[in-house]
């Protein structure tokens, strides 16, 4: 009997193992596409079709008889269809060198009293302060940006000849207190207790102290503002996460103490963060020089930092965000975070979807006044003593009860120092009617002693008159309209630069009267300045104003010679009511986002910031919204009702084989009738399958289309990592962004992957607290517009379908899934949408990833007016609209999405794909809705037209058929399951045999 019980027990163990394995098997099959990606397994392969001829006469028919196309060539590979390891290694080495340069050009020198660059003797025995020394910030948590060489801060210093106090480094390594965490949102600086007597004794006399401070947020995690209850820091500390932490203050005080006693000769601060820290303490702690280095990425970016410190690279980056003295002073901040409808229970009861995906909202009461557009505009109105600009509202740091720019701003947008100095002279401005641009010519002279690069920044001020005030058309006092980075200029040498300024940038969106873009009547200014504030002072000088100050509060006069002015005699509501990309278009640029304004549903709820009344419109508290029935119904709308004239699904042509392969479609124009025949070959089932992304879409044998690969991330898409996108933007270099696009394109070609990519990140640094500001360009939309266009253009030319993300107004991570983002159309058009616009209209992007959030109460994926109206209609976009990861979110309705302009659901495999397929199938079958089938055909047209112009076409010849391949791990895992199951049965049988034999014996 003992033997019998042993077999039963063993059978029980094997049953458990098998059940556990079964659960894992289901999971693995569920996420099979991602397993395949991880294992680098292709689920389709090319096989030679039958009936081929022996074209090369070698007596056999094989791949050598096929002319494999190389539509997208690599500069590193002789044959992109047969890339060697050596060719890849050469490319990767060039990428590594480029990333180092990105960091060197992107870092921004904020302060320098001559302490930098360090001399040769000063790089020995440096004292490295700050726990980031051993846990440097590279990038925040998000997709992409990995692979290749990964150099940390200390490694980079060593490589470049620095030596440092190992005792101090070891003290940080030994610190066991919680370290910095983006997800837990902790700062993680070491406490003062790490600086023991031994550590202090190790501080070498006459050495340089380099303090590195970091912050980290990330996907799903904004930084804490400390304002609302959900935004309070978990460690109980008061204030925002961007203010100095007590541990940091203690450390800085210690450093200052040792500087004051002569131990340290210099104090250098490195800001290793993508979110701007509050930095009004440089003087307090005796800081000699400070440099923002951002997130150097998980690659070789850190190598650029010692080069900058030593002066082997001269800083030329410029700020892409305003450094406010107090980060809470931005008017958007009070409406940033988590806000729930006041009548929460009514909304919950009314919501058909998961309540948490509809309960939250944010109201962008600041309108266009994001970042410097707020600070500079208020400054101008203070100088001109108008509109109540100097009132006490919105004061955070100003003294004396009056708002004061110099108190509120530490460093302005566009600011950045160099190891040399430059002068800029405006030579002239010419309007080029053919291109509809102003050509601004500027001569830059290097007046210092070392070579370096400068940035020519051109800002505009447009009229803010009675029409604008009456019709709520807001105007920033300055806005960036053009820029160019110079080449390296030798001391005393000059370079003349021509900056092209699109006249379109001078138009403002009038959402109340003209309901389109207008060119105002009145006086226009184009100003060249070192930064936004400098440019505005020049404009004020041209206006004859007085009392101007620089950002430190020092009196300045401005330079009116660097300003060009002219007048428009009448209001123009026509020119830009037609899409700029197609003057023959019948599409009108007009209001399409009325339903995104909370006042549309509940009038009087939001008061948008207006410069004509600072005191009464500056947002001082979060908007409270009580949802009415109209709003709740819109929140619940699944986005589609079958139209009366929908054809029968049976009458829509599908599954008609014409023998056309994807290989035949390269270069076929979008409106060529051949596309109709090509798409008609697909069955309804296949049409739906194309909509389901799982890191690419699956193969289709019927049209000989192989599986595709979609890649993610703004800082790297296919095997290499680059600096954070905000650092790339801080280069203010179109050339550098084009190179970034070039190398990412090369990565994709040489990996034969990433045909569609979800990058760049284009949302707005609406506040400094955004969790993903690191992978978005800037607080300024036009900067994103111009830089993004450069990167996109080059990537597209390399056979990558660029998909800027997350379209649009995904400017916070808090409750991003389903949050209703309310705002007025001028704000959306000129801030959030403008940033994306250039990627399509100038860069030619052929994909776009939409966002999780709703625009107003309507999820963007259902919002046809935005996707079909603005994106496709006004901007002329042809390509794939893919959602953000759409697996199981209940408010992302499948049918509503595809009928509302969505083409593809991101990361939708297994059960999620089955669910969506069923939803779409049911809508077709149950309602006999041929309209949906027609839409699916158009979606497939867009999808395959797009892929037909990517690197997936390299090597794809008509001579090949595509066949599906079962990945090796799937049968293996099934066999293992069967073995365990048989094992359990066998052991159970043995138990039965022994148990019943014994019983028989006993009987």
């Amino acid at each position: 009997m003992k033997k019998a019980r042993l077999f039963r027990g063993l059978a029980a163990i094997v049953i458990f193992i098998e059940c556990l394995f079964l659960g894992l098997t289901i999971t693995l099959f569920q996420y099979a596409p991602y397993i395949n990606i991880a294992l680098n397994i292709q689920t389709s392969k090319l096989v030679l079709q039958e009936g081929l001829e022996d074209t090369n006469g070698d007596g056999k028919i094989d791949d050598n008889d096929v002319d494999k196309p190389q539509y997208f060539k690599s500069d590193y590979a002789e044959d992109v269809n047969n890339i060697t390891d050596e060719e890849k290694a050469k490319k990767n080495a060039d990428v590594a060198a480029f990333v180092e340069t990105e960091e060197e050009e992107g870092a921004v020198l904020l302060k320098n009293n001559g302490a930098l660059p360090l001399k040769a003797n000063e790089i020995k025995d440096v004292q490295l302060f700050g726990r980031s020394t051993v846990i440097p910030y590279q990038k925040s948590n998000s997709g992409g940006g990995s692979g290749g060489t990964n150099v940390k801060y200390l490694d980079a210093l060593k490589e470049k000849g620095f030596t440092y106090n190992e005792t101090l480094v070891e003290a940080y390594n030994s610190d066991t207190t919680p370290s910095r965490s983006g997800s837990n949102r902790t700062i993680g600086e070491s406490p003062a207790s790490v600086y023991t007597a031994d550590v202090k004794a190790s501080f070498k006399n006459g050495s340089v102290a380099i303090v590195m401070l970091s912050r980290e947020a990330g996907e799903s995690n904004d930084m804490y503002t400390g304002l609302a209850s959900d935004m309070v820091r978990p460690d109980g500390a008061v204030g925002s996460e961007l203010a100095l932490d007590q541990n940091e203050k203690d450390m800085l005080a210690l450093v200052k103490q040792y500087k004051d006693n002569g131990t340290f000769t210099k104090v250098i601060v490195l800001l290793n963060t993508s979110n701007p820290l509050e930095v009004n303490w440089f003087d307090t702690y005796g800081v000699d020089a400070a440099m923002w280095i951002g997130g150097p990425g998980q690659s070789t970016g850190f190598r650029g930092v010692p080069d900058l410190l030593k002066g082997e690279a001269n800083p030329s980056g410029r700020l892409v965000d305003t450094y406010a003295t107090n980060s809470l002073s931005a008017p958007a901040t009070v409406n940033f975070g988590q806000f729930v409808y006041k009548n929460r229970s009514e909304v919950t009861a009314g919501l058909a979807d998961n309540a948490s995906e509809g309960l939250y909202y944010v109201v962008q009461e600041e309108g266009i006044y994001v970042g410097y557009k707020y600070y500079e505009t208020r400054y101008e109105d203070c100088i001109l003593n108008r509109y109540g600009a100097d009132s006490d509202v919105g004061i955070w740091e100003s003294k004396g009860g009056k708002w004061n720019y110099a108190d509120e701003v530490s460093y302005p947008f566009g600011y950045g120092l160099s190891y040399t100095t430059f002068t800029k002279t405006l030579d002239g401005v010419k309007y080029n009617a053919d291109e509809d641009v102003y050509e601004v010519t500027v001569t830059v002279k290097n007046t210092g002693s070392v070579k370096g690069k400068d940035v020519v920044e051109v800002y505009a001020q447009t009229p803010y008159g009675e029409y604008e005030k009456t019709n709520k058309v807001e105007k920033a006092a300055v806005q960036l309209v053009g820029f160019e980075k110079t080449k390296e200029i030798e001391p005393n040498a000059t370079e003349t630069v021509t900056v092209k300024v699109q006249r379109y940038f001078l138009a403002a969106y009038d959402y109340t009267k003209a309901k389109t873009y207008i060119l105002s009547e009145g006086e226009y200014f184009l100003s060249v300045g070192d930064n936004a504030h400098d440019a505005l002072n020049n404009i004020l000088a041209a206006k004859g104003a007085s009392g101007m100050t620089d950002f430190d509060g020092n009196a300045v006069n401005g330079n009116k010679d660097n300003v060009y002015t002219w007048s428009e005699s009448k209001l123009d509501t026509e020119t830009y009511s037609i899409p700029v990309t197609d003057q023959t278009s019948t599409t009108k640029v007009t209001n399409r986002l009325d339903k995104s304004d909370i006042n549309y549903y509940v009038p009087g709820t939001a008061t948008y910031l207006s410069r004509q009344d600072w005191k009464n419109t500056y947002p001082t508290s979060a908007v409270e919204v009580t949802a009415n029935q109209k709003l709740i119904e819109t929140l619940c709308d699944d986005g589609y009702k079958k139209p009366d004239n929908a054809p029968s699904a049976l009458n829509v042509a599908t599954g008609i084989d014409k023998g056309i392969k994807l290989a035949d479609m390269y270069g076929v124009p979008y409106d060529d009738p051949l596309w109709t025949d090509f798409i008609n070959q697909l069955t309804v089932s296949e049409l739906i399958k194309s909509c389901m992304d799982s890191g690419g879409i699956s193969e289709k044998e019927s049209i000989a289309a192989p599986q595709t690969s979609n890649g993610d991330g703004p800082d790297g898409i296919a095997g290499n990592a680059y600096v954070n996108q905000s650092v790339a933007a801080s280069t203010w270099s179109k050339e550098m962004l084009a190179k970034r696009g070039y190398f990412m394109g090369e990565d994709a070609i040489m990996n034969h992957s990433a045909q569609q990519v979800w990058c760049p990140g284009v949302d707005t640094h609406r506040t400094p607290f955004g969790g993903r500001n690191f992978e978005y360009y800037s607080e300024d939309a036009n900067l994103a517009y111009m830089l993004g266009a450069e990167q996109t253009k080059v990537m597209e030319s390399k056979g990558v379908s660029v998909g800027p993300k997350h379209f649009f107004a995904n400017d916070q991570e808090s409750w991003r899934t389903g949050i209703s983002t309310y705002g007025n159309e001028q704000g959306f058009r000129e801030i959030q949408l403008r940033a994306f616009e250039g990627h399509f209209t100038k860069g030619g992007a052929t994909s776009v990833m939409t966002s999780f959030n709703r625009i107003g109460p309507i999820w963007i994926g259902h919002y046809s007016e935005a996707q079909d109206g603005i994106l496709r209609g006004e901007w002329g976009f042809i390509g794939i609209v893919i959602t953000d990861a759409a697996g199981v979110n209940s408010y992302m309705h499948s049918v509503g999405a595809i009928m509302g302009g969505t083409d593809m659901f991101c990361y939708t495999a297994g059960v999620a794909a089955d669910g969506r397929t069923k939803e779409i199938n049911t809508a077709i079958r149950n309602n006999d809705d041929g309209y949906i089938v027609e839409q699916l055909k158009e979606i497939n047209h867009r999808i395959y037209y797009t892929y037909a112009h990517t690197n997936v076409m390299n090597g794809l010849a008509s001579a090949y058929d595509v066949v599906s391949v079962t990945p090796w791990w799937q049968p293996t895992i099934i066999v293992v399951n069967v073995v365990f199951a048989l094992g359990a049965v066998a052991l159970g049988s043995l138990f039965a045999v022994f148990a019943y034999r014994k019983k028989k014996e006993e009987n």
Partner: protein, 132 residues
Amino acid sequence: MFKNKTISFYVGVGGGALGLVTTIAYLAYSVSVHLFAPEVFVFLLLGTLSELLVIFTNWKFATLIPVLFFSLAFGLHISDRALMFEEMFNHIYGMQERGANLGMVITLLITNLVSIVACIVASFSSKSKEEA
């Protein structure tokens, strides 16, 4: 019914009782966060009920039945929570799913596992001391 039984028998019964607690806790928790997986609940419940077979019958295979059902519940629960684990591991929980409580899920898996181990232990032993 409980007379002259082996310790292993009581261990198995304890596993079944814990299975009942797990079943109820799973139901209450998963419904409250809108993440109810019927297959997990059904197998937990069947595991608990099948322990009655062990208690009330002398069928020699009976001890294997709760092992089977509890194990299926365990495997399928892990499968059901895979997305949650993935998002939590990547610190992006809330992207495709929200509401889950990691601590609660792990607690349920652990109590489920304890039930399985208890039932396995019972499978190695006789029900009554006479049989032993």
